[in-house]
């Protein structure tokens, strides 16, 4: 085993055979944390974003926080209800993409897909960034290097996901449940202390006043509307991740649809409870946040002060568990971890969506292949790279990133709800059974409500966030849409071009002229000559390019001495190049008859190490590439295995299954060649 293989196995684990695919199915108790960590974790930053947007209106703004939280909860309820219909109707895991494609056509499907791809990348970026921001409460040394830390964590997540979904599932279950226990426990304990014990709990920032931006000073009319809309759209980040379950139905155990629907309901209930609890506690303890971009500031006794504040979660945990430090550390640690794991939801969703798109020809086919561990490795790598770029550009600032977020998810919500309505309408046309009809009618009403709700939210989100960064997300979606359409067009064009017509398949070339490239007379050349002669071409000739007179003379002499039955042509090369004269010569052979085929035999040295590759075959390689562009020229590579090739053969033998997929070690693709075979010549 060599070093790279060892490292890979250490990081990624042993290879899984295709037959082991079924083993990665998830029971509900694991599926909930795997698919729900995103939706749940947004509880950690959605209240923050609601509060700090409201802080733009100064201290009075915070009064709106519970109405906004309620609105978000209502939207969440509607969306969960609608998606329960989707997982029953489309259990194949295509999710919104499939719903839109089937009911509204490929363009709608592609819109959904590009929106979701963008949002998956943002999910990773936002969650990891938020985790890093929260981690600052425990590890202050992170401050200033948030982007780098976030990038490192994304790399770690990528490695875990390359191991495959099941392992990561059990790793992620514990902190997700820990987070639920932590947040719900904190809520219950906090409410008990406030109402049961009548204690007067104050958050660390409760004593400060807040001055907002002048525009929002008087909370009336337009300013109020804009502020509430912005705050609400930021809070809607809590909804992202709900669609992950509808994309992940195939990963559930049987009965898949029912289990997925139950998990979805659980997710909705828990997320709404946690969001409500945190906002309620924030109100009760007088918690305040300010805009990190400096549009609102803290004041103390009417004087501006600069205070570094923690996230809402950090402040609440500090206040409620003031006599119980373990609770504080537990909540913060779990929040931190679940935020990193939330990114994992995207790591489950993105590659699956990518592979479906690749299967439909919208993305490169490589995204459809499963890696050694049965995960869609290429999709995972792509997602990680895009997210790393984002966190480095925005230095892991949640407030900046969240402006781009949410648009995509609501685009896909809205389109897929519309698609579901059409789905039920279409089925109602043919359904006769009154009971089934009643169920479908009910489903259609639910999806209609979903459509109205999500459509409304989409408009609000777009209007509220467009100038603050959402336009970037829209541009990215449009770009991905165009790109995928372009890829599809290309694949379609190529397929049409290469399709077999009624005539051309039967047309044999009238003559095959064999040309053997000779550089010196040795075993590889002899093998090429023997092989070429055995193919019984119409005419056969060996060709050598004369660069050095003495060398050519030696070649010609030894050719003569071998007494081969093949004429040797020496091409003059006044400028000491091989490729040009050789190509010209082949071109000359070609122009005679369009139905002639020239077959060029190039002896090739097969070596064991990459550095040996640099020393051999360079001319042959260039010739091969150039000849491939000529009409009616076939290139046959005649391999000659040098003794050193044994290293490469051994390497390939150790990796029989994977060798074909790996570009670096695939030089020798003959895994089952016995070790002791010696060359016949």
């Amino acid at each position: 085993m060599n070093a790279t293989d060892f490292m890979k196995r250490l990081l990624v684990g042993r290879k899984l055979s295709s037959a082991q695919l079924g083993e990665t199915l998830l029971p509900k108790r694991i599926a909930l944390p795997v698919f729900a960590s995103d939706a749940l974790s947004s509880v950690a930053y959605a209240p923050d974003e609601i509060l700090l947007t409201l802080s733009l209106a100064g201290i009075a703004g915070f009064a709106f926080s519970w109405q906004i939280a309620l609105a978000v909860a209502v939207v969440m309820f509607i969306v969960v209800l609608s998606y329960r219909q989707t997982v029953h109707a489309y259990p194949s895991g295509g999710g919104d993409y499939e719903v839109a494609t089937v009911n509204l056509g490929p363009s709608a499907g592609l819109t959904v897909a590009s929106a979701l791809l963008v949002d998956y990348v943002l999910t990773v970026a936002v969650s990891v960034s938020s985790g890093v921001q929260n981690a600052k409460a425990i590890f202050p040394f992170i401050a200033g290097y948030e982007g780098v830390w976030a990038a490192g964590l994304i790399l770690l997540l990528m490695a875990m996901n390359l191991r495959g979904v099941r392992e990561s599932g059990s790793v992620f279950a514990i902190p997700t449940y820990g987070f639920m226990i932590g947040v719900l426990g904190m809520t219950v304990w906090g409410l008990f202390r406030i109402f049961g014990l009548n204690e007067h709990l104050q958050a660390p920032t409760a004593g400060y006043g807040v001055i907002g931006a002048p525009f929002y000073d008087d909370l009336t009319g337009i300013a109020l509307m804009v502020l509430v809309a912005r705050s609400f759209s930021s809070g809607c980040a809590a909804l992202t991740g709900v669609e992950a379950i509808s994309n992940g139905v195939p990963a559930f155990r049987e009965p898949k649809s029912k289990n997925a629907a139950t998990t979805l309901a659980l997710l909705g209930g828990i997320a709404i409870t946690m969001l409500g609890g945190i906002v309620a506690l924030a109100n009760l303890t007088g918690l305040k946040l300010i805009d990190p971009d400096g549009h609102s500031v803290f004041t103390q006794n009417g004087v501006e002060v600069h205070v570094e504040h923690e996230t809402a979660m950090g402040q609440l945990a500090r206040t409620i568990f003031d006599t119980f430090p373990f609770g504080f550390y537990f909540v913060i640690a779990m929040t931190m971890i679940i935020l990193f794991l939330a990114a994992n939801t995207a790591f489950n969703g993105f590659p699956v969506l990518g592979s479906i798109l690749a299967k439909d020809g919208f993305l490169p086919r490589a995204l459809h292949t499963r890696g050694d561990r049965l995960a869609f490795s290429n999709g995972i790598l792509m997602l990680a790279m895009a997210a790393i770029a984002l966190v480095l550009i925005y230095n892991a600032s949640v407030t900046a990133l969240i402006q781009l977020y949410v648009v995509g998810v609501f685009v896909s919500f809205t389109i897929s709800q519309f698609g579901m309505m059409l789905h039920w309408t279409r089925h109602l046309k043919t359904e006769k059974d009154p009971k089934a009809r009643a169920t479908m009618m009910r489903s259609r009403v639910i999806n209609a409500i979903g459509l109205t709700g999500t459509g409304l939210v989409l408009v609000i989100v777009l209007a509220a966030k467009f100038i603050y960064g959402a336009y970037l997300a829209v541009i990215a979606m449009a770009a991905i849409f165009m790109l995928m359409r372009g890829i599809r067009n290309h694949y379609t064009k190529v397929a049409r071009e290469t399709a077999v017509g009624p005539m051309d398949a039967r047309l044999l070339p009238s003559r095959v002229r064999a040309v053997i490239m000779v550089q010196e007379v040795n075993k590889p050349t002899m093998r090429a000559v023997n092989f070429a002669r055995a193919t019984r071409a119409s005419s056969i000739e060996a060709v050598t390019v004369s660069i050095d007179d003495a060398e050519t003379r030696a070649t010609v002499a030894s050719w003569d001495a071998q007494d081969l039955e093949v004429p040797l042509k020496v091409i003059a090369s006044p400028y000491r190049e091989v490729t040009g004269p050789f190509l010209n010569y082949v071109k000359g052979l070609r122009s005679d008859n369009p139905r002639d085929v020239v077959c060029v035999y190039i002896p090739e040295y097969i070596v064991g190490h990459w550095w040996e590759q640099l020393l051999h075959n360079q001319t042959g390689l260039i010739l091969k590439t150039r000849l491939n562009f000529m009409q009616g020229v076939m290139v046959t590579s005649v391999p000659y295995q040098l003794a050193s090739s044994q290293y490469a053969i051994d390497r390939a033998q150790r990796n029989v299954a994977a060798a074909w997929r790996r570009p670096g070690t695939g030089q020798v693709r003959m895994g089952d060649r016995p070790r002791d075979t010696t060359e016949p010549e």
Partner: protein, 122 residues
């Protein structure tokens, strides 16, 4: 196409490919020797040519001895054939020659059987 305008001529030379420039140079040498251009040859014409061997073929020993060379002067190609010989000292690929003999057309290709040849030094 001879162009009298020196600027245009310079421009044309500038845009020409290496092969075109080379052909032009070779044809100039042919004209200075007083030899005919291969492109202008007609069947059964007796001619003196000056050019270089581009491809030299060595036939297998089993057949009739026969030395074949493709000969190019920048305007066209003619095949030189020396019967009864498998090689001739001094006739190598890339060698410049002055040859004379009678041109014959075989299968649309120009051939010169057993030409008199003169090796050009350099």
């Amino acid at each position: 196409m001879a162009n009298t305008n020196p600027v245009l001529r310079a421009l044309r030379r500038f845009g020409a490919s290496n092969a075109e420039l080379e052909s032009a140079a070779r044809q100039k040498v042919v004209e200075s020797t007083g030899a005919s251009l291969i492109a202008d040859l007609s069947d059964r014409q007796s001619a003196k040519l000056r050019g270089t061997i581009t491809v030299l073929t060595m036939k297998p020993r089993s057949g009739t001895p026969w030395l074949e060379a493709e000969f190019n002067d920048g305007s066209g190609t003619v095949t030189l054939i020396w019967m009864g010989r498998r090689s001739i000292p001094g006739i190598t690929a890339g060698r410049e020659l002055i040859v004379s003999g009678r041109v014959s057309y075989v299968d649309g290709q120009r051939r010169l059987y057993n030409p008199l040849y003169e090796l050009v030094a350099g």
